[in-house]
């Protein structure tokens, strides 16, 4: 059977700076066809499998879920939901080991499968996507929980809304890292599905031109994809075989190789009108739009001398790593380090009960020969090999000094954040300095400091608000006191006209005045007080004595006691 040959004879290719030719070690795992992994007893689904906000559980322990049901919803724009990869019962929502370089546990939903693998209700397939509104399709992609499957796990729906005109869609099938063959097998076995997905991505981005870049160490994939593109009848879609050179699968490197354009420092490809997606993502998009299926499984390469029969498995997201190892012949006894990802960018997996997540492309059970211990780091001899291999043209040596000295500002001046952590510099370093770890540490430190700064700013604002509140309360209290004082000061001022300084005193005086008036009136009428009539002699004597005492006292105080004096008249 004759397939059309890849048509890149006329496509000019470019070269990025540096890079490495590495032994690719891909034949170990791509010799056998990929097969579906057995249904595990338990599926462990971390709530954070993507860049952005973690998903929020919508199920409770004890709930029965069907395959494809949403079990956690997206929170915020940069987030995606998580779906049940098979039917069963939720048995736990809590901390569980996850694949992460820290080895720390994280929040997961654990489902005990029932073996029925029964599908739940799925959204309607959208076959006529080319007539649909891009927003509808983006929503479908978001609802299907699709993230970039190349490794970064950034929500695809966000990437497909670039808000600026896109002229070229680049599909990344380079798979440049040694040992990994999951994209290779996907392109070989499901080229039609990948191409169908690419057509949807192209419709969404509105890109005229579409370039599919595949490294030339995967001739079968190139052939299959070329055939699928030809049979799909897509205009302006081209499969391009590119030279094998690590890290040509880096987004910015692949763009450079295929178009000759460079993505500016600290900006995204969309800023120069390019969107780049992985072949696995394209296949997932096809599933979501044309079948209504969410992202619940992926191709995973299980390889290395540490496993019996390296191969690719189509595994459900959430399958424990140890079960995949068992299905590929089990540990061979030669394992020295279990790595998630490839030998260059992967990280050590501390616990093999951790699950496969959306971004897991490879499990590498590396033997001592495959992952040699570099030994203790020696002092930098300033050979400059790191700079000559850096695909981003950074100065790894300078970055190393600054990261080591914790001079983070200087490190940023040397474009630390343009580092793609490909590991070329560490790989060639004759002193075995773990350079990438220095850069990762410096990046993390900068992020942490920025977060601290935001928190400090928040605390300062709250403190100032509190001080302002206390000052306002104090001012209000003072104002109240002042008002009270003013009222008190005003009252005596009003009474000053009548000559009485105290209201009590005034009342007494008024009463005395009334009594005196009454007495005067009665005296004028000639009436004497009734109680002095018909007195007994004893009473009269008592009164006389009292009068005499009063008179005696009155004489002494006559000049001060006016009312008494009056009475004496």
């Amino acid at each position: 059977m004759h397939y059309p040959s890849p048509s890149n004879s006329h496509h000019k290719l470019y070269r990025f700076h540096g890079g490495l030719h590495l032994p690719d070690n891909k034949t170990q795992s791509n010799g056998r066809p990929a097969r579906a992994a057995a249904l595990p007893k338990r599926l462990i689904l971390p709530l954070q499998q993507h860049i952005g906000e973690p998903a929020h559980p919508t199920v409770a322990v004890g709930d029965r879920v069907l395959k494809g049901d949403v079990i956690a919803r997206a929170q915020g724009l940069i987030s995606v939901p998580i779906h049940a990869p098979s039917s069963g019962t939720v048995i736990e929502i809590g901390e569980h080991p996850v694949p992460h370089p820290s080895g720390l546990p994280a929040h997961c939903i654990v489902i005990e499968t029932d073996g029925l693998d029964q599908w739940g209700e799925l959204p309607e397939p959208i076959m006529d996507f080319s007539t649909r509104d891009p927003a509808t399709l983006r929503q479908r992609i978001r609802d299907a929980g699709i993230v970039g499957l190349g490794g970064a796990a950034f929500p695809t729906s966000v990437k497909l809304d670039p808000r600026q005109p896109v002229h070229t869609l680049i599909i990344n099938g380079a798979e440049c890292e040694p040992c990994i063959t999951c994209d290779d097998m996907l392109m070989r076995e499901r080229a039609e599905q990948v191409v169908a997905g690419i057509a949807i991505l192209r419709h969404l981005t509105g890109a005229k031109s579409c370039l599919i870049g595949i490294e030339d160490n995967k001739p079968e994939a190139v052939t299959e994809m070329t055939r699928a593109v030809a049979s799909s009848g897509q205009e302006g879609m081209e499969v391009i075989s590119i030279p094998t050179l690590y890290p040509s699968g880096g987004e910015k490197q692949l763009i450079r190789v295929l178009t000759g354009e460079e993505v500016p420092s600290s900006s995204i490809p969309a800023s120069i009108g390019i969107v780049c997606n992985n072949v696995g993502t394209a296949a997932a998009v096809a599933d979501a739009v044309l079948q209504g299926r969410p992202l619940i499984s992926r191709y995973v390469t299980v390889t290395g001398e540490g496993v019996g029969e390296p191969c690719n498995l189509e595994a459900l997201i959430g399958t424990p790593v140890v079960e995949l190892i068992e299905q590929t012949g089990g540990y061979s006894g030669r394992i020295s380090r279990l790595i998630m990802g490839g030998p260059m960018m992967g990280f050590t997996l501390h616990d093999d009960s951790s699950p496969i997540v959306k971004a897991s492309n490879c499990l590498l059970a590396a033997s001592a020969a495959e992952s040699p211990d570099p030994g203790p780091a020696l002092p930098c001899i300033r050979c400059g090999q790191c700079a000559s291999v850096c695909p981003v043209r950074l100065l790894p040596q300078q970055l190393y000094w600054y990261a080591r000295a914790k001079d983070l500002e200087k490190a940023q001046e040397y474009n630390l954040f343009d580092c793609i952590e490909c590991g070329c510099c560490s790989h060639v370093c004759p002193s075995h300095i773990p350079l990438v770890q220095y850069y990762r540490s410096a990046k993390n430190e900068i992020w942490a400091q920025e977060q601290e700064k935001r928190k400090a700013e928040q605390a300062r604002k709250r403190h100032e608000a509190r001080l302002a509140r206390l000052a306002r309360k104090e001012a209000e209290k003072q104002a109240r006191l002042k008002k009270k004082k003013a009222v008190l000061a005003k009252k005596p001022a009003g009474k000053a006209k009548t000559g009485a300084p105290d209201p009590k005193q005034a009342a007494i005086e008024a009463a005395m005045k009334r009594a005196a008036e009454k007495k005067a009136r009665l005296a004028a009428e000639g009436a004497t007080p009734r109680n002095t009539r018909q007195l007994t002699e004893a009473q009269q004597r008592q009164i006389d004595q009292a009068d005499a005492r009063r008179q005696a006292a009155g004489k002494a105080e006559a000049h001060t006691e006016k009312p008494v004096a009056e009475e004496q008249e």
Binding site: Q48, V98, H100, P101, S102, L104, A106, P376, A377, P379, A403, R404, I433, P434, Q437, Y438, R440, S441, K443, N444, E445, A448, Q449, E452, K455, A456, E457, Q458, A459, R460, R462, H463, A465, R466
Partner: protein, 192 residues
């Protein structure tokens, strides 16, 4: 001679007026150096520096009344940043032990809280919720870990809980570098 004197005097007067005007026109409200210092401080408002809050400490530093090494929550990083800003020499921290404390937030034992509101009055960032004779609680995301709420509590129901290390806060550590025997200049000269 006279022309020269007149000219110079006129120029002097002119520039004097210009400077006088500029001083009014471009007057800077507040002290910018205080603000700059304050942005470097961690804003815990804990008072461990001996001043009632980060702003007073910033003012004291700006006036030369306080050293730059008195902020335990900021630790060495803050001290170095202050040294850089003010052109001073870095000095060892005043309270080394306090700076080594892990980050923590206050937690109120709600079973024991009697609702006295004393901690609410002590909190510099209003991170404690509650009312008289009602149970109080700490808003963990706003707590700066200053510990100012602990001493006023009459029933000692507040304790500091170190923040757990989780994936979102985890940082790649710097590679460990074993102490190496580095040849000194003398040794190199001697052997070479």
């Amino acid at each position: 001679m006279l022309i020269a004197i007149v000219t110079i005097s006129a120029l002097a007067l002119g520039f004097g007026l210009l400077l006088g005007y500029a001083a009014i026109r471009f007057r800077v409200e507040g002290d910018p150096i205080v603000d700059k210092i304050e942005t470097l401080l961690p804003q815990t408002q804990c008072g461990q520096c001996g001043y009632p809050g980060c702003h007073p400490y910033a003012e004291a530093i700006a006036n030369g009344e306080a050293e730059i090494n008195r902020c335990p929550p900021g630790g060495e990083t803050t001290m170095l940043a202050l040294a850089e800003l003010l052109g001073k020499d870095p000095i060892p921290l005043d309270d080394e032990a306090a700076a080594q404390k892990p980050k923590a937030v206050a937690v109120i034992d709600e079973q024991e809280c009697i609702g006295c509101t004393l901690c609410i009055q002590a909190c510099p960032v209003d991170a404690i919720l509650g009312a008289a004779k009602q149970m109080h609680t700490v808003i963990a995301s706003e707590c700066t870990g200053c510990e100012l709420c602990m001493p006023p509590c009459p029933v000692e129901c507040i304790h500091m809980q170190p923040l757990p290390e989780d994936i979102t806060h985890w940082k790649w550590p710097l590679p460990s570098e074993p102490e190496q025997e580095r040849p000194t200049a003398d040794a190199t000269l001697a052997t070479g």
